[in-house]
């Protein structure tokens, strides 16, 4: 199987601080892949570079064969690479409905949008109940559902998620991960960045461990869960 996303030698620096130091990884169509690591390892920076919000200093990001490195954020969304950012990036002063409508910002196909909206509201019935609520009044878990639902409305070919578990209660996290599993089962490719290493490796077919800007381990999710170094560093021994 050829890779949907191929990242090679990616380097990102903020001034003199090298956040990402030449990492290479790929994501194949249909799978869930994860990039795990501690706070400050460079996970979010990697995702921001994929979405064109920070400029890479070197390397290449090929999506379905096309180089994304010089594209603008909105052009990357057009290609089908859609990100749910860290902290959910919900627009708190807009209603749930307006947030969802903006998910489809780049699309013109009214009928397709309407049917996708229906699907998202079936997937997250809680959002349906609160459709006219200001998004800022939603709970953290509901906001995460909204963020994912909004991204789905862009009709992504690859969904990037930055720490969907952040700040959520364990039960809520489980619910979110179950939903991600379902969405993937329906055919959507997912690249998940997580600090919640156990949950992420359980759901992902394949994972990478990032430490201070470098990938130090790469293996199937199951094997990484049994890896002594991972156990010791991330799963409390």
């Amino acid at each position: 199987m050829s890779a949907l996303l191929e990242v090679a030698g990616l380097e990102v620096a903020y001034g003199h601080i090298e956040a990402v130091r030449g990492i290479s990884f790929e994501v194949h169509a249909g799978e869930i892949r994860t990039l795990v690591g501690a706070n400050g390892a460079g996970k979010s920076t990697t995702l921001l570079a994929l979405s064109g919000l920070v400029r890479a200093r070197a390397g290449s990001i090929r999506f379905d064969g096309e180089e994304l490195l010089r594209l603008k954020s909105h052009q990357i969304v057009d290609r089908g690479l859609v990100q749910v950012a860290e902290g959910r990036a919900i627009l708190t002063t807009l209603s749930v409905k307006e947030n969802l409508e903006l998910g489809a910002y780049r699309r013109q196909d009214r009928i397709g949008i309407a049917s996708d909206l229906e699907k998202v509201l079936t997937l997250f019935p809680l959002l349906h109940e609160r459709i006219d609520t200001m998004a800022g009044n939603l709970s953290g878990g509901e906001q995460q559902m909204l963020a994912i639902g909004r991204a789905l409305l862009a009709r992504p070919r690859l969904l990037l998620l930055d720490e969907p578990s952040m700040g959520l209660a364990p039960l809520v996290v489980q619910g979110i991960f179950r939903t991600l599993g379902e969405i993937n089962h329906d055919g959507l490719t997912i690249f998940l960045v997580e600090q919640n290493v156990r949950q992420a490796l359980k759901i992902a077919q394949y994972g990478y461990v990032l430490e201070t800007g470098r990938i130090v381990l790469a293996d199937s999710g199951r094997r990484l869960l049994d890896e002594p170094k991972v156990l010791e560093a991330y799963l409390g021994g």
């Binding site: 979405s51 708190t92 807009l94 903006l102 862009a154």
Partner: protein, 293 residues
């Protein structure tokens, strides 16, 4: 003659609202207090004056000239000055100070080119008829100003509330980063906003120049101060706030002149503003909200 005063206040307030609309739009979307807005307003009046006196264009065409000229200037200010500052992530005060520089530059250049004296639009450009309705008189110009400002505000509110463009602008106002991740072309909408805001400022400049029968290089400065007061009163970045704030200031000034005396005009108007802000520091429509990264 209260009715007549109310009519005067309505037309003056409409001009303030029109000026404040562009001002508040730029603040809301770009997060910049654009202190060159008064200058763009003044240059709109000069552009229209040139169109009328040199090219013999009718008023409608002159308004269009002002719209395009001021809009292009606003666009140029965004692309050449504000965007480089954004890309370097300059702190909030820096773009504001840069716009003071722009204002001083163009105010001086205008004075150098056209002199400091008052210029006037030729008489007869606007029919000087009065519309009479019982005891109330309103000039064609005043009626035009009120109708134009109100319909523009209504259109703008509709766009912001009901359209995908409006939602995108509100998204940028809350978080440019979140907006970009949704596929919104943030830089493109910054440019559009800068153009529209400045173009409306230019139209405002022509209208007030006709209303007060004077075009001069510093005509934008008092307007700028009032504009700042209006958007603070209305709530920074809020369109309804620009309308209500503009009308409030117009009414306060006209009624102060009518019942207290013209020397006290600004003292009364700004005193009232102060009282309102004591009671409601975030402004009439303002939300207590921090801008996110």
């Amino acid at each position: 003659m209260l009715e007549q005063q109310l009519i005067n206040a309505l037309s003056l307030g409409s001009v303030y609202a029109l000026f404040a609309l562009g001002f508040t739009l730029v603040f809301g979307v770009l997060g910049v207090i654009n202190l060159s807005h008064g200058t763009v307003f003044m240059l709109g009046a000069y552009a229209a004056l040139q169109a009328v006196t040199r090219l013999n264009l009718p008023l409608s065409a002159a308004l269009l000239v002002a719209f395009v000229f001021s809009g292009a200037l606003g666009l140029a200010i965004d692309v050449l000055v504000l965007r480089p500052l954004r890309q370097r992530q300059a702190p909030h005060l820096i773009p504001m100070i840069a716009t003071i520089g722009i204002a001083i530059f163009f105010n001086s250049a205008t004075q150098g080119l056209f002199g400091a004296e008052n210029l006037r639009f030729p008489s007869g450009l606007v029919p000087d008829q009065q519309l009479i309705w019982g005891d109330i008189q309103i000039s064609v110009l005043e009626a035009g100003i009120v109708i134009f400002s109100f319909s523009l505000m209504a259109a703008m509110l509709m766009v912001m509330k009901k359209t995908q463009l409006g939602r995108a602008l509100r998204a940028i106002a809350e978080s440019p980063k979140a907006a970009a991740l949704l596929g919104i072309n943030v830089e493109g909408l910054f440019m559009l906003t800068s153009f529209i805001a400045a173009a409306l400022g230019g139209i405002g400049g022509v209208l007030i120049a006709l209303y007060s029968n004077a075009v001069f290089p510093l005509m934008g400065q008092p307007m700028l101060h009032k504009g700042i007061a209006v958007i603070i009163l209305g709530g920074m970045g809020d369109i309804r706030g620009a309308l209500v704030g503009g009308l409030f200031l117009g009414f306060a000034e006209v009624l102060a002149v009518a019942y207290i005396g013209s020397t006290m005009r600004d003292a009364i108007a700004f005193g009232l503003l102060f009282v309102v802000l004591l009671l409601r520091p975030q402004g009439l429509f303002g939300k207590v909200l921090e801008r996110k990264a």
